[in-house]
Amino acid sequence: MSPQESAAAPEAPVAEDPIKVQNARVLALLHKLFGEATFTDVEGPYGLLTVTTTRERIHDIIAGLQQDQEIKFHFLTTMCGINYPENEGQELGMIYHLHSLTQNIRLRIKIFFPITDPVVPTLTDLYATANWMEREAYDFFGVIFTGHPNLIRILNVEDMDYHPMRREYPLEDGTREDKTDLFFGR
């Protein structure tokens, strides 16, 4: 799935669907705080509002959402890296899940950047929990978080010289023929 496809405009809120109303409200807040041009690819798969933005703005946006008094996104649920090798110039990505515990609203923010320049600002100054999550993303995808206090590998051994969750490293040896299935592939 390409993140660049399906850039659908946000649908008008339908009164019957509370999730859509809620998402429209969050989206309106995002547009008000950071401008409409900041967000591309606004969609809501399975009811979870998903926006894509740029790495230049990500720190401001998450800091702004954390400080916002209307919908308090105080909780960073999780973040993870992702790799789309076919998207040239946008091969790597980071996906953040925020949660407002006061209003029970979740928000997913994505950023994409080139694999040759995988530099992203850290969130450790906003959320203490970002520390290990970012170390994990560095470990597995080689995303470099500027300003991180201790950006070293976390789950893999220190002397590993590649980032194993990138798609270029297949799980199995692709040259093996004994496991090939002519009908179903591998």
Binding site: M1, P45, Y46, L48, T50, H74, F75, L76, T77, T78, C80, I82, I95, H97, L101, N104, R106, R108, Y127, A128, T129, N131, W132, M133, E136, F140, R153, I154, L155, N156, V157, P164, M165, L171, E172, F184
Partner: protein
């Protein structure tokens, strides 16, 4: 605090160094009064209950700093999951929090069902609730009884482990295995509760409360136990949220966030239960919150068992739910579906879904990105242990070594979930 200050040789070194110094301020070569001891807690240490290492800097008995090293049982589940059909990922989830495997299994099934748009019938949902709450009780029993062992009270551990054994016997009746359960399927349960399973469950519901009461009366107001755990390793609600705490550890700090209540799944909205919260977020609060959650889980199980609806135990979704084996042998259609599902040739929609359940340790999230292929394009597990264990150095610094063990124990860090 002086180390080795009883040794004559140390005094001699001190005196020599002082003589060389001539009253000037310069660092001493062998100034034992300033030196910190490096203590290697782990990777294999009986008190860490799992394989992870902490390199502690000790000033006498006080911990000055701690550096955790994790990853000793990292098995690359996220990478492996990228090559496996959905039903083959269930055994991977078993091995994350292996103290409450059914919760992980069900959480994964529900994630896939959300992606596929499969609705599970009420009976299966109630059955899942029963199994998940049993798993939560088993998980909390382990955590609390081991906390007792770490404070020197071995008896309670033996009392409740008997009951955990009975829970595992119920698992065995329901799915055939005990620890890594691989329970249920995408679309429901793989079989209905057998009469034996129901009987075992009813018997256990009768006997367990008395044991739990005994366990609580042994610990809750026990002076020796309270002296060891009250005000040990407290964490404020703000800090706990900032560190991404969830589950009993967050609720002990006073935040009533429970996924079961906030985003009900699998018919949790049908049941009446309370969410216990603590005030200080210390080890004692974590212990009490877990104990109280066991009672609440019992309440849920009783309600679910009483109101267990009649009907099918799986969704009518032949494309995703494996047909019964007898059918596969006799029926062409069932054979085709069986074959397609086993070979992973099901039509999964393109999309991404985040689903979370209340695991034994907190919000257990599955973030699944599907590109329509037979395997997930990307699967990320939000593992509560991994996220809150990073607060451990902060909680342990300033305490003594024996308190650090108790804090670690009360956080219920499960190595399998920590490292995935």
């Amino acid at each position: 605090m002086a180390v080795n200050d009883t040794l004559e040789g140390t005094h001699k070194i001190h005196e020599e160094a002082a003589a060389q110094r001539h009253g000037q301020l310069m660092p001493l070569l062998n100034d034992f009064s300033q030196e910190l001891t490096t203590l290697n807690l782990g990777p294999t240490h009986p008190a860490t209950h799992g394989i992870f290492q902490n390199i502690l800097q000790m000033d006498g008995e006080r911990i000055v700093s701690g550096v955790p090293t994790i990853g000793y049982i990292h098995r690359a589940f996220e990478k492996i999951a990228e090559r496996r059909p959905f039903y083959q990922i269930t055994p991977l989830t078993d091995r994350m929090n292996y103290c409450s495997s059914p919760i992980n299994n069900m959480g994964w099934h529900m994630t896939v069902e959300k992606l596929l748009g499969v609705t599970v019938p009420k009976r299966a949902q109630y059955m899942r609730v029963i199994m998940m709450e049993l798993a939560r009780i088993a998980d909390h029993l382990i955590c609390n009884s081991i906390l007792g062992v770490d404070t020197g009270a071995f008896t309670g551990f033996l009392y409740v482990f008997q009951e955990r054994e009975k829970i595992y016997e119920i698992y065995e009746e329901v799915c055939g295995s005990r620890l890594t359960t691989n329970m249920g399927r995408v679309g429901g349960m793989e079989r209905d509760f057998s009469p034996v399973a129901l009987q075992k469950l009813r018997d256990w519901l009768k006997t367990f409360p008395a044991v739990m009461k005994e366990f609580e009366s042994m610990f809750n107001r026990n002076r020796i136990f309270m002296d060891r755990v009250v005000n040990v390793g407290p964490i404020s609600a703000e800090k706990a949220l900032n560190y991404g705490f969830t589950g009993p550890n967050l609720r002990a700090a006073g935040v009533d966030y429970d996924v079961r209540a906030m985003n009900p799944y699998s018919s949790y909205e049908d049941f009446e239960f309370d969410i216990p919260v603590g005030t200080n977020g210390d080890t004692y609060d974590r212990f009490i919150v877990r104990n109280e959650e066991i009672w609440q889980s019992l309440r849920i199980i009783k309600q679910a068992l009483e109101n267990l609806p009649e009907g099918p135990y799986h969704a009518d979704a032949p494309h995703y739910y494996l047909p019964a084996k007898q059918e596969v042998y006799k029926n062409m259609e069932a054979l085709i579906y069986h074959f397609k599902i086993i070979m992973g040739e099901i039509d999964a929609p393109v999309g991404e879904v985040y689903h979370s359940v209340e695991g034994g340790n907190g919000e257990l999230g599955f973030y699944l990105i599907s590109d329509g292929g037979r395997t997930p394009y990307r699967l990320h597990f939000r593992r509560p242990c991994f996220i809150y264990y990073q607060a451990y150095p902060e909680m342990a610094v300033g305490t003594t070594l024996s308190d650090a063990i108790v804090i670690l124990s009360s956080m219920n860090v499960i190595a399998g979930e920590l490292d995935a």
